[in-house]
Amino acid sequence: MQLPAYYEFCNSVKTIVGHKALEQIPQSLKAINAQRPMIITDKGVEQAGLIKIVQAAMQKSKLKAAALFDSVPADSDVKVVNEVAKIYRAKKCDSIIAVGGGSVLDTAKGANILVSENATDLMQFVGYGNVKRKLRPFVAIPTTAGTGSEVTSVAVIANHEKNIKMAFGSLFLLPDIAIIDSRMTKTLPPTITAFTGMDALTHAVEAYFCLAKNPLSDTTALAAIQLIAQNLVNVVKKPSDLDGRLALALASNLAGMAFSNSMVGLVHNIGHAIGGVCGVPHGVCMNILLPYGLEYNMHKRSQYIGELLYPLAGEEVYNKTPKKERPLKTVEYIRKLIQDLHDATDGKHPRFLKEVYDRTGKQMIPKEKLPDIARTAMSDPAQFYNPEDLDYNDYIMVLEAAWEGIPLDRKKIKKG
């Protein structure tokens, strides 16, 4: 285990995990002195009946939500944040319960900044460390097993009018309580389960081999990787497996803890750019790019990448594989996992960038967009934490390989 000369780690979120963990909501709210919570969610979560489960759990103690906002869009937006804050104030709420995926949780974090700071303009809090005091009580209930937002100290909110994404970072953005209940992810379709699971895997893997790794984040990252390797394909094949669902939700939480402290690298760097240029869901990009991120950095981080084989493939495979071959075997194992997910979803889970289609069947990442993606990636700060440096030509090399679905030619990777 690497012991860096210096590192930081923070996770102050009380995490409640279980098949009926939501039943703890009343007591949990009481503990943080919340009496008039506002529920923030999106239409999909509402229509799946998940809010009813939350409300039923609350009503057992005669606790009612003071307001319900169920119109968070897929891509969190500053206008929506303002609207949520307005309702929160009008209904005299005193706390927030966010039920949803990354967009809902980020919207709730943004709204919590506004109502706690009694502000109207989110822009003044953009950046790291600009939220400087404790915010209103905040409970996060994730409904996907991927983002890990319930334990991260960041939020990304778009301003579609100005065409920018605003990133907020502060330890005060960490929720007070995260509740992980297997019922919340039970209705996730197999394709979404597959790519959100790969998103969580990417968080854990990048946290483990990138520059800000540390012994504390390593521990959570390795546990997350093992849980995902053992459960993801099974749950995609059998969505009603509640134990598997709970394991994946916990893995996402652990991976969130890891990457919130150790940050991420090339895979997120390029993934953010593809999302920005082509509007491809984040998890889909992570899934496709993960093997390439490992291959690109292998000459610098072969030890750590080799160590990932243990939680991914298990003790037997790890011991049978000679040390020198473990890094490549790790990549091979992840490619096999992607192929298994592709097969388990009848080909709906894309393996390469050229295989990503929208609902109308249109290809989302045309090859001619790769230069735009590369240029956008050069402005994304996730590159800071990547072990190897990247220039425009390096981005193009990785993107072309990921588009075609061929492994990186590692001889072409420039080494300093």
Partner: protein, 180 residues
């Protein structure tokens, strides 16, 4: 209770280290200005930055500091170490004198310093990415390979920076940085 029994603990001033860091900031600032005239890549990076770009690099909480910005005619200028009411568009804060010493004695590169949360950036993140690329190039020019390799993630190969460009650029940057 006699409050005088509990005197306020004041941090040591660390004069020598502060002087060393101030000199290094001056050298880097002047070298950025020089590199923006000499090196095509640095020139292009600055051209993409907004017209009012102004960098403040400083050591928290009391300095030293250095300011580099774009002038009205688009030239890149080292603006000194004094705050003359500047409004930086990008602030790079090094959290302590000790963190700055690690960085400026090349025991830690910029990337590791950032990963260890010793260096905090406030401002537009694309600008920060461009600035890191600029700093990397400047370090390659200023430092001998054996030291620069510690400071940057990847020392450029011939294909990225041929020896003619490197050595000729190095001479020009040193001359421009140290002459007024």
């Amino acid at each position: 209770m006699n409050a005088l029994q509990y005197p306020e603990i004041k941090p040591k001033k660390k004069f020598i280290k502060r002087i060393y860091i101030a000199v290094m900031l001056w050298v880097v600032g002047r070298a950025i200005q020089a590199a923006a005239k000499v090196d095509r890549e640095v020139k292009e990076e600055f051209a993409k930055l907004k017209d009012n770009f102004l960098l403040k690099m400083w050591i928290w909480p009391n300095g030293p500091a250095m300011y580099v910005g774009k002038t009205k005619d688009g030239k890149v200028k080292y603006l000194g170490w004094k705050d003359k009411g500047y409004k930086p568009t990008l602030t790079m804060t090094i959290k302590s004198v000790e963190a700055a010493m690690l960085l400026f004695t090349f025991q830690e590169g910029t990337a590791i310093s950032t990963a260890r949360n010793r260096l905090v950036v406030d401002g537009d993140l694309p600008d920060a990415c461009a600035l890191v690329r600029i700093l990397n190039i400047v370090e390659v020019y200023l430092l001998p390979k054996i030291i620069a390799k510690l400071a940057v993630k990847r020392y450029p190969k011939w294909s990225q920076m041929n020896p003619l460009r490197k050595h000729f650029g190095r001479i020009l940057i040193y001359v421009r940085a140290f002459t007024f």
